[in-house]
């Protein structure tokens, strides 16, 4: 059920009454119901992109230790398929799931139903058209060659337009809010929807539309590539954790002050981090140094966030047994701390001189994008989907299979590969070791990478099957007649956070 007039785009552009004295009058079920179509559109298409991206990933990974595999097909050569994987999981899976999550979170925290869903649905369709053109172009060999911006020129305006609609609509939802005070998740979301268009448009202008020359290209590229993780995906991951973690366990966040400190310090320091990937490059020393300093300063938001999450969970770890959401969210939160501190270490000159240009960087990227962000998004989806469909998850076994395959898979992926990358870096710095020997050193780690990729693929298929089963129960002919148990269990009242 939607609020009166919510289907009109124009009526949605101006708040009816943001001074509503009874902010809780809107039932949560009404908000969840209004989000159903749009959020499902993003979730389903995002999951399809995840499966496609996973196939690309396994093929690309296998090629690293069996280079002749599918070598006769130009579209499936390593340079294309690895790029297609990256774009499918970044702009397909991660971005689409992120948008679904932020729409639901914003509506819930603003206590308003989603208005004029047709705008958001149009954005979803546009985004997927842009992706089909872009990733199809990549597989056809039509890439820009710029890391994280490989999709050809003709797809990017469509993607930008789609995201602009999403960003504007997120702000429109915010304008309609019935709760005046902002929760920290809203800070993160609003910042993310403003940061991403800025990053994307600036990088497109300077690297694709009218490319800068020489070393400046590398500087802009790393500014974009690093910030798209830190200023787009990270805020959305943290926004989800800050909302879902307290909700699941029924306890407010340990220290709201620390959460605000974490947000503003991330906003202040993260933007400077990208240049630490250019250690040793032809750049002014101050440029690299200031980036390393800002990277080390990232300890402030990371540690304050880690303390906050951990102290919120103390006394509630037993609930991991019952909540799939909590399992994924806690895994993601712990991975945020580990991957961020690993990032701080990787920014330091002596470490970077060995680890850079090796598989260590690949492992670090997967720590952040998969162990932190993807696992957090899985957790958020486990929480959101039953609410917007009003149905239970059909299979506990598939949930457990999903969790253990992805959790074990990513740990066995990143930990050995980080070490293998370090050994690779050490060997590359030794002039006595021929390059072919360096490649041989990495082989066991690359083979393990393929095996763990397959393990994660099993988890993805299990989750997708469970999700489709849930949707069949919701919309199919044999609908589950009894509404899901959302009542949960009562626990002792917890003290309010400081």
């Amino acid at each position: 059920m939607s609020a009166p007039g919510t289907n009109r785009v124009l009526s949605a552009l101006s708040p009816r009454d943001t001074d509503d004295p009874s902010p809780q009058q809107v039932q949560l079920a009404e908000i969840d119901d209004s989000c159903r179509g749009s959020v499902l559109l993003f979730f389903i298409s995002g999951m399809v992109w995840l499966l496609i991206g996973t196939v690309f990933a396994i093929v690309a990974s296998y090629k690293l230790h069996a280079p002749d595999f599918l070598g006769d097909y130009a579209s499936l050569t390593f340079g294309r398929i690895r790029t297609a994987h990256l774009n499918a999981v970044i702009y397909g899976f991660s971005a689409e799931i992120a948008v679904g999550v932020i729409l639901w979170l914003m509506c819930r925290l603003c206590r308003v139903p989603l208005m004029a869903q047709s705008v958001i649905n149009s954005a979803a369709v546009l985004w997927n058209i842009g992706l089909l053109l872009g990733i199809g172009g990549v597989l056809a060999g039509d890439t820009t060659g710029v890391e994280y911006l490989e999709m050809p020129k003709y797809s990017t305006p469509i993607l930008f337009l789609a995201f602009a609609l999403i960003a504007v609509w997120t702000i429109v939802i915010f304008r309609f809010r019935r709760e005046k005070h902002l929760y920290v998740s809203q800070w993160y979301i609003l910042a993310a929807v403003l940061w991403f268009p800025w990053l994307y448009s600036t990088a497109q202008l300077l690297l694709v539309m009218d490319p800068a020359r020489g070393a400046v290209q590398a500087a802009v590229n790393w500014w974009f590539a690093h910030n798209v993780l830190g200023l787009w995906f990270t805020p959305i991951g943290l926004a989800s954790i800050y909302y879902v973690l307290p909700k699941v366990i029924g306890r407010p966040i340990h220290s709201y002050y620390l959460s605000v400190l974490g947000f503003w310090s991330l906003a202040l320091f993260y933007n400077w981090n990208g240049f630490h990937h250019l250690v040793g490059g032809p750049f002014p020393a101050w440029m690299i140094t200031i980036s390393i300093v800002a990277s080390v300063m990232m300890v402030i938001p990371v540690v304050s966030t880690a303390i906050n999450h951990h102290f919120t969970m103390i006394g509630h770890f037993g609930k991991l047994k019952h909540s799939p959401t909590l399992r994924f969210i806690v895994f993601g939160a712990m991975s945020y701390t580990v991957s961020s501190l690993q990032g701080v270490l990787s920014s330091v000159r002596w470490f970077s001189e060995t680890a850079h240009f090796t598989h260590h960087t690949v492992a670090h990227a997967h720590w952040g994008m998969y162990a932190f962000f993807t696992m957090t998004m899985f957790g958020a989806m486990y929480y959101i989907l039953p609410r917007i469909t009003q149905r239970e998850w059909p299979s506990e076994r598939l949930i457990s299979l999903h969790f253990w395959c992805t959790a074990v898979g990513i740990i066995l992926y990143v930990a050995p590969l980080s070490w293998g990358g370090w050994l690779q870096g050490k060997a590359m710095l030794d002039p006595k070791i021929p390059f072919l020997e360096v490649v041989k050193i990495t082989l066991p780690y690359l083979k393990l990478r393929t095996v763990t990729g397959l393990l994660m693929a099993v988890g993805h298929v299990a989750f997708f099957a469970n999700m489709i089963w849930l949707l069949v129960r919701t919309f199919g002919p044999y609908q589950q007649p009894q509404p899901m148990i959302l009542a949960g269990v009562r626990t002792e009242p917890a003290p309010v956070g400081k």
Binding site: H181, L190, G250, R251, Y256, V489, K498
Partner: protein, 71 residues
């Protein structure tokens, strides 16, 4: 290059300005105060503090699902 330079310089000024405005607005509106209340914002009468809201696996006995009721 002229238009692009203009856009880039403009956005480089505009975005930090928006961030500063957001911080100023937050201070003016009291968003940086009343932090005990802010921590409670995800909760309401329907999902209050003290209520676990995601019990799917290994359900405690009183909440274990029985076979679905017939319509």
């Amino acid at each position: 290059m002229g238009i692009i330079t203009f856009i880039l310089i403009g956005s480089s000024v505009a975005f930090p300005a928006v961030a500063l405005y957001a911080l100023w607005w937050a201070g003016r509106e009291g968003q940086l105060r009343h932090q005990d209340r802010a921590a409670l914002l995800p909760f309401d009468e329907q999902e209050p503090v003290g209520k676990m809201t995601d019990v799917v696996l290994n359900r405690p006995r009183p909440y274990a699902t029985s076979s679905p009721a017939k319509p």
